[in-house]
Every structure is written in C-alpha cells, then in structure tokens.
C-alpha cells in the first residue's frame, strides 16, 4: 500500500492486487484496523489506485501477470512491478497438530477478525516470535481466556532481544503497551507444544516446560513458529533468493529489471520496515531517487531490529524431535514423518511420497521439512496457486493486447 500510494502520488497509473478478500494484507484486513491502517487505506483511495482482490498465479509473458478471484480472470500488464507478497507463519508438526482448532497464532487472529467468536474460549498460545504476544493481547481484548503463552526461545535470548528493542522507539512503545495488556497472563519461555489431543477436535494440549510435560485443557491452540517470506511469486519471476529472502539493492530493485520487492520477502522485519521499504520502492519505481534515498537511514535502523528478531527467535534443536513416526508432516497428502525421514531431499520425498504436492504446494510442509531435515524446495512452477482450468487455458491462448490494468 505504501509503495502504491507513493507511485500514484507521483502521477503513475497504479493497481494493487491484494490476496485477501479486502484491501490491507494480512495485518490490516478486516473491520478493526487502527489509525495507521485507516490512514494508508484512505491514501490508497484518494490517490486513485485501482484495487483488485485476487491472486496472481502465473506470468504467461514478460510484464504480464494473470490473477484470479472468485468471479473472474484478470490479465495485468505492467511497466514496473513491486512485489510485496508478505509472509506466512512457520508451522512445525507435532502429534495432533492436524486436529481442528489447532491453528496458527496469526491464523486464529485472522479468523477472529473475520467473524470467529472467541469470547469465553480457552486458548493456549504457543510457538515463537513477537506475534505470540500480539495475538495473546488481541485474544484477551476479545474476551478469550489464556491459560499460558509458551515461547520456545530461552530467557537469555529474550533478554538480549529486549535490549535490542531499546534502539527502536516505536518498538519500546509497542512493547510496553503489550506488557500492559498482557499483565497477569502466564508467560513461559523454554516451552513448546509436544501433543495436541481430542476426539474430533482439540481438547487438550501437552506442553514441554523446563524438562517436564504438562497437559492443559483448551478450546483452541494458537501456534506459530515465527514467519517465513512468501517467495513463490518472486521465484516464478526469477528474482535472486539468498538465505530465504529476496535480494534487493538500495532502491529495493530485484535482480529482474522492472521488478522491485518490499516488506517481509526481503527479510522478516515487521510492519514499520515493510512500510519504509514500500515507500522507497514506490518512490524509486517512479524515478524519485533522491526522495527515496532520504529514507535509507530509517530503513537501516529498522533492519537492525529485523536482524535481532532472527537471532532471538531461532528455533531450538529439541523441536526436531517432537514429531513421532506417525505424525503427519504434509497435511495435504497426509504424509507421515517416518515416510519422509527415509529420503535424502525435497525432490526425492516429493517423487516418492507426494509430500508438498497437494494444493498448498509445500507452503506449510516446505518450511517444516527445511527445519526438520534441512531440505530446500528447489523450484516453483505455475500456477503458483491452484487456479480454474479455464484460467489456465487462457495462458495457452494468445494473450489479448488490450485487457488488463496497470
């Protein structure tokens, strides 16, 4: 949104394609967006940006993308493209994690934003990363009861992380605000879920904590292990990826001419970093290089915060021994841990077990097997999201010359 607004305010014709049913990405979608979100949404509207809620699934020709939503297929032509594909939660398998009502931490929050009633429900929050605290506070504000928040990181990493926060004024404010909202909630470091159990849906979560296990009855488990960038579209377009992130230069340009990238795909750093990267990309894509350069210093400070996030919430090796032989790792194809362990890489596992070959295309089990077995997915193929056959058929016909937006 920041990128689109800056480009549009520079006089460019701009279209935003948002994966979500309403504008605002994962963080700002829904009806309860705060003042910053409202300000950017208003700027998107007033700057004349065209918004399409739909999903890009293919690039059939240079500078052409195909997007689909419930109603139709859209052929989008561009001169410059700014990728802001965001991030998703990292999920790690443990026995019972496929039961209904075991959800991502951000996943549960997204569901509540879109109408899931949570008042009076008991929710265990677990995993790693600052999102756990934000989700915990959100849940309390919406009337849920939280018996415990389990963070896998050690107290020592958390202490180092809070020291790093001191250099980030906006983060100190956010941190204190979260502390106030979570006052009285039980927070435990060095702890993680080992089993979820229940008949047809979740009833009990067992957590490992200081060398012991403890079972907690609950209605929901909100569990995510920090975030991983959404790299499918950057990979499809041929962007360079290093250490799991899209490589960009000072002006957020990728290795592909005319393609910029901003936000989480260039490194998980949160909303402030994403905004400033978006502003730089939008200005640079419109030729306003000098104005873009003025934002470098702010970006560098926020990137330092991003690096401290990586260090603080690194996954502990004990999490690799949580899955049992019959624990499902690939939820689309129900491929179990023991069937995967025998293989020496992602490709072999795909060929032999169908791991990663269901509709999510490895978005869930890919990061999990990367952590469990050090496998790395080697390529993406279109369509990068499941699309209707008639839409895929369109890619094989001659592309029309005139349709499309930006």
């Amino acid at each position: 949104m920041a990128a689109g607004v800056h480009a549009a305010e520079s006089g460019r014709k701009v279209g935003i394609v948002d994966d979500n049913p309403t504008l605002g990405g994962q963080i700002w979608r829904g009806t309860e967006a705060g003042p910053t979100a409202s300000m950017w949404t208003e700027r998107v509207r007033s700057s004349g940006v065209t918004v399409l809620c739909g999903r890009v699934f293919h690039q059939p020709a240079p500078c052409v993308l195909l997007a689909e939503n419930n109603d139709s297929l859209h052929e989008l032509h561009y001169g410059k493209l700014i990728l802001a594909t965001g991030a998703r939660e990292r999920f790690l398998p443990f026995p019972g994690w496929s039961l209904p009502n075991v959800m991502g931490a951000g996943g549960l929050q997204a569901m509540i934003k879109c109408g899931l009633p949570i008042r009076g429900k008991r929710v265990v929050v677990a995993g790693t990363g600052p999102l756990l605290l934000a989700v915990g506070a959100y849940l309390l504000d919406h009337g849920a009861e939280i018996p415990i928040i389990c963070e896998q990181a050690s107290w020592m990493s958390l202490t180092r992380f809070s020291m790093a926060l001191l250099a980030q004024p906006e983060k100190i404010v956010q941190g204190l605000e979260l502390k106030r909202r979570l006052a009285g909630t039980h927070f435990s470091a060095n702890s993680w879920p080992v089993t979820a159990s229940g008949k047809s849906a979740l009833e009990t979560v067992t957590i490992a904590r200081s060398g012991k296990t403890e079972s907690i009855p609950c209605d929901y488990l909100a569990c995510g292990f920090h975030l991983v960038p959404n790299l499918e579209l950057p990979l499809l377009l041929g962007c360079q990826i290093r250490n799991g992130c899209v490589q960009v230069d000072d002006f957020q340009r990728t290795a592909v001419p005319e393609v910029f990238c901003a936000g989480e795909p260039t490194g998980i750093g949160g909303v402030e970093l994403s905004l400033v990267e978006g502003e730089i990309a939008g200005l640079a894509a419109s030729g306003r290089i000098a104005e873009a350069s003025r934002l470098f210093r702010k970006r560098e400070r926020l990137r330092r915060f991003a690096r401290s996030l990586d260090r603080a919430f690194r996954l502990r090796s004990e999490l690799r021994s949580v899955p049992l032989p019959d624990t499902i790792v690939c939820r689309c194809e129900d491929v179990r841990y023991s069937h995967l362990r025998a293989h020496n890489g992602w490709r072999a596992a795909k060929l032999q077990t169908r791991c990663g070959m269901g509709p999510c295309q490895g978005r869930v089990c890919g990061p999990a097997t990367q952590f469990l077995f050090a496998w790395s997915p080697d390529s993406v193929r279109p369509p990068i999201f499941p699309a209707r056959v008639e839409s895929i058929g369109h890619t094989n016909r001659e592309l029309s010359e005139t349709t499309g937006g930006p």
Binding site: G106, R331, C332, V364
Partner: protein, 81 residues
C-alpha cells in the same frame, strides 16, 4: 447493509454479521471443513489462504477457500465434500 445475513452450512441456517468469512460461519455451525486423504477431519490452520485446509463447497462449487470467501446472504456451504 443488513446487520445480519444468513447462510446455510450443510443445510442448517447460520446468521452472521457482514464481513464474516465462510470459514468462520462453518466454525459457528460447529463443523470442521474437510476430510483429509486418510480420513481425518480438518479445519482452518493458517486463516490466510495458504494451507487449503478450509476447503468447502460453496453454492455447489467444490474446493473454495472458506477463509478467503466472505459470506453472502443465501449462500449454501457444504463441508466434507
């Protein structure tokens, strides 16, 4: 805009406010979404359209993402299809 709209989940009516997703309506109806290839019940995991666990049939069209589809009055949702 009406303050409530009604959809059906496996034939049973569910009243929800506008802005509610189909996945939330399915949860309000006390249902899970789909049956996995080995027969397990599944519900939403990611809430953001990447895990595909919330697939349901909407107005007769199978494999729609419940968490990415907003409820519309009169919508017919079927789970485990």
């Amino acid at each position: 805009m009406p303050s409530q709209l009604t959809v059906t989940v496996n034939g049973a009516p569910v009243a929800v406010p506008p802005g509610t997703t189909v996945a939330a309506a399915v949860a309000i109806a006390g249902q899970s979404c789909r049956t996995s290839v080995s027969g397990e019940p599944r519900g939403p995991l990611c809430g953001m359209g990447i895990c595909f666990e919330c697939r349901v049939a909407i107005n007769g069209r199978p494999h729609r993402l419940g968490c990415q589809t907003l409820c519309e009055h009169g919508m017919e949702v079927r789970t485990h299809e």
